[in-house]
């Protein structure tokens, strides 16, 4: 205890000394944290706006099911992912986001919990006995020994009863990926080109309804979308002036800076480079794609990477084209170690080029699931290019901790570092 206290003093001292050395430096940690919080607010507000657009498109699909209204709803979902993926850098380090994010972006999922699946999906598994529950087709069922009445599919049923049912994380009943499944259906093309091919008639009325229970499917999609809107609205509020997330970041300047660094490093290394990209490649498994139903994984990776860069350089371009920016972590690092700032900025830019190469290949017809195929050298090189760049930038992110003398802060208050769950879970 005493030792920690003394260490605290000695670091305060080192910081004081470096402030003297760089007296002309106008950037304060507080200003950097304000930028970080303001960008978070803008990103979650944009995510909310885009989710409301999605909600309207889903409303139109359910009211007048057609190929056009389904296509419009899919387009709205894809657009909604752009701002949201850029928020992911806030997950690690900010306990309030980490505790909440499972509601909106949980993945991977056993989609058979929600709706019909292909025979190749299999039934209940050793890991998850509700993997093929199919709530859309079953108004009543037993869950962990309890009789459940699901005749009315409501946001509460999804969030309180079904989500993570039986304590299994793969029972994802809410959020972007549940909605994605309901809009696209399973992608049955394996590592060949092509996304899910759900027909609009899965939402048709009367006799035109395919695969049964179209009204319940529509109710599920509506409930999940309503829930997404309310969850995003809640998070946007937390980052407004006076909100809890903003207050937590600003409470302690050094801990706040550590929060930024933690978010950047954890997303770069364990989450994106490791679980989301490298693991799927090593398993040659398209189910390991982050946006697997819609084949949007290339964008999901790209905007995650952009979010990490946003957090460092302190700028974000909103969905209306306006720019939010301010004093940044980059400024702070530059004041302490100009070379390190140039190094990290360069690496973040390299990552964007590498993730951009995956994105442009996918957009020109070589989809992400094809890249995962066994023995596909081109795909492997594209994905490993992104992985290596993310791993490389993590090294420089770790150097920031030393450059800013943040050693004794310990990564406290960070759920992802204090109580991380295993990467493969």
């Amino acid at each position: 205890m005493k030792m920690n206290l003394l260490l605290g003093y000695s670091v305060a001292c080192l910081l004081g000394a470096s402030a003297v050395a760089a007296a002309a430096e106008p950037v304060s940690k507080k200003a950097v944290l304000e930028t970080y919080a303001t960008i978070a607010q803008a990103k979650y507000e944009d995510s909310l706006t885009a989710a409301v657009t999605l909600q309207k498109a889903v409303g139109a699909l359910i009211a007048t099911p057609s190929a056009d209204t389904l296509t419009a709803a899919r387009a709205a979902w894809l657009a909604a992912r752009v701002p949201y993926q850029q928020t992911e850098v806030y997950r690690f380090g900010n306990a309030i986001v980490d505790d909440w994010e499972g509601k909106v972006n949980a993945w991977p999922l056993d989609e058979g919990l929600i709706d019909y699946v292909d025979a190749s999906y299999g039934g209940p598994s050793d890991e998850n006995e509700y993997a093929a529950l199919n709530v859309v087709a079953n108004p009543t069922f037993t869950l962990s020994g309890k009789e459940i009445d699901a005749t009315a599919i409501t946001p509460e049923l999804l969030s309180e009863t079904l989500h993570e049912a039986d304590g299994i994380e793969a029972n994802v009943a809410t959020g972007y990926h549940a909605i994605e499944f309901l809009l696209w259906g399973q992608d049955l093309n394996g590592t060949d080109h092509g996304a899910g091919e759900r027909a609009w008639t899965d939402y048709a009325k009367g006799e035109a309804c395919t695969n049964g229970h179209c009204d319940r499917r529509g109710a599920y999609l509506t409930a999940a979308t309503d829930l997404l809107v309310s969850d995003l609205g809640w998070m946007a509020k937390q980052w407004q002036p006076g909100g809890d997330a903003r207050a937590a970041v600003l409470a302690d300047e050094n801990a706040g800076i550590v929060t930024i660094v933690t978010g950047m490093g954890s997303l770069s290394y364990g989450e994106q480079a490791g679980e989301r990209m490298r693991l799927g490649l090593m398993l040659n498994d398209p189910e390991e794609e982050h946006d697997c139903f819609s084949d949007n994984t290339h964008n999901s990776h790209y905007y995650d990477g952009l979010g990490i860069r946003n957090a460092y350089v302190g700028e974000y371009v909103r969905i209306d084209g306006s720019r939010v920016s301010g004093p940044s972590l980059s400024d702070l690092v530059a004041a302490a170690d100009k070379d390190l700032d140039a190094e990290l900025t360069g690496k973040l830019n390299t990552t964007m080029l590498k993730l951009g190469a995956i994105k442009s290949a996918a957009e020109s017809g070589f989809s992400y699931d094809q890249m995962l195929a066994r023995g596909n050298k081109g795909g492997e090189a594209l994905i490993m290019g992104g992985v290596n760049a993310l791993v490389d930038q993590t090294k420089s992110i770790e150097r920031v901790v030393s450059a800013l003398n943040l050693h004794d802060i310990e990564f406290e208050g960070s759920d992802s570092l204090d109580n991380p769950t295993a990467v493969f879970e």
């Binding site: 003093y9 770790e398 943040l406």
Partner: protein, 333 residues
């Protein structure tokens, strides 16, 4: 005035408190006494396995299992060293893919055998196979699971042979890279991989704490599940009865690394000693007993002791080395 006071205080206090260890001297010790011997053992035992499998498969299953268990033991002594040569070309992943939360391993093995996939007969092409079918964990299925041993497929020995060869090549490649330059990069720490000794020691410290975290959370946490729903079939290598042994071996490996990093600090060692004594009191090799109250309580105590040891390292060893842990693979969700 305030700043001057602080500066003075800092000058007086920090050399004693933070970074007091002679890290430049610690690194070569870790490399020569811990890392290189560990990979030498792994290379030797997997090479033996690659010889024994084609010679004894189908004729002398005990000989195959014996060689397999020796090699797996050797892996456990280096399984926490997830950086540098082991991360190149997915070598460590291809040696040890676990946990397999979505059941890829049995599925992939079954389809390779059923289709008599040409990669079974081509060591070069076998390297393109999913990691779910490469390394120690899928080999365990082929050697111990009834589904594969009960009425063995005609090509099972061919698959085991190519797997063993792949493992030996991976282990040899890791060792070769360590001997052929990586050890020097780490010891010299004047290069872009390790710009200064602090970065090398941070890598080692991160490997240590990540290893302990993995043992507590995953090796123990997965089979423990929740109180109302224990999950013994999620234990690591339960088919071969190695679950508890893996906890013991990984603790011993981490204990050695911690001892070198802490310059044989007695307090650090006591934490490991406590955890290892708990392991030695448990008679439940595959964690089947986690479904009983007593079995669970023992694993909880063990998990607590390991977590406590890790906390001690963060509070005591890290500042002594003048570092904080780096990012690790468990940081995701």
């Amino acid at each position: 005035m305030w700043k001057y006071c602080l500066v003075l205080f800092c000058l007086l206090s920090s050399p004693v408190l933070a970074g007091e260890a002679d890290i430049a001297a610690i690194i070569p010790k870790v490399v020569h006494q811990h890392i290189l011997p560990g990979y030498e053992r792994l290379a030797a035992t997997t090479a033996t396995l690659a010889d024994v499998v084609p010679a004894s498969c189908g004729r002398d299953p005990e000989a195959v299992k014996g060689a397999y268990n020796k090699a797996f033991d050797a892996w456990m002594m280096v399984s926490h060293l997830r950086f540098g040569p082991s991360e190149q070309k997915n070598r460590a992943f291809a040696l040890a893919f676990w946990p397999d939360t979505r059941g890829f391993t049995p599925k992939t093995l079954a389809s390779l055998l059923r289709d008599d996939d040409p990669v079974i007969h081509d060591a070069e092409k076998f390297r393109t196979v999913s990691i779910a079918a490469r390394g120690f964990y899928p080999m365990e299925f082929l050697l111990y699971d009834d589904a594969f041993t009960g009425n063995p497929a005609a090509n099972r020995c061919a698959l085991l042979t190519v797997m063993a060869k792949d493992m030996a090549e991976n282990a040899a490649a890791i060792l070769k890279d360590w001997q052929g330059g990586y050890a020097e990069l780490m010891i010299k720490a004047d290069n872009d991989t390790y710009r200064e000794p602090e970065e090398a020691v941070r890598q080692l410290y991160t490997a240590l704490t990540t290893g302990l975290q993995f043992t507590a959370q995953t090796r123990l946490g997965r089979p423990m599940g929740s109180y109302s729903k224990p999950r013994p079939s999620r234990a690591e290598a339960w088919r071969s009865g190695r679950s508890l042994r893996h906890v013991l071996l990984s603790l011993e490996a981490n204990r050695q690394l911690a001892s070198l990093l802490s310059e044989e600090d007695a307090d650090v060692d006591r934490g490991f000693d406590r955890a290892i004594r708990i392991v030695e009191g448990i008679d439940d090799p595959s964690f089947a007993g986690v479904a009983t109250v007593q079995g669970r309580v023992r694993l909880e105590a063990l998990q607590g002791a390991i977590t406590l040891t890790n906390d001690l390292l963060a509070e005591y060893l890290a500042p002594r080395l003048g570092i904080t842990a780096g990012f690790n693979a468990l940081d995701g969700d």
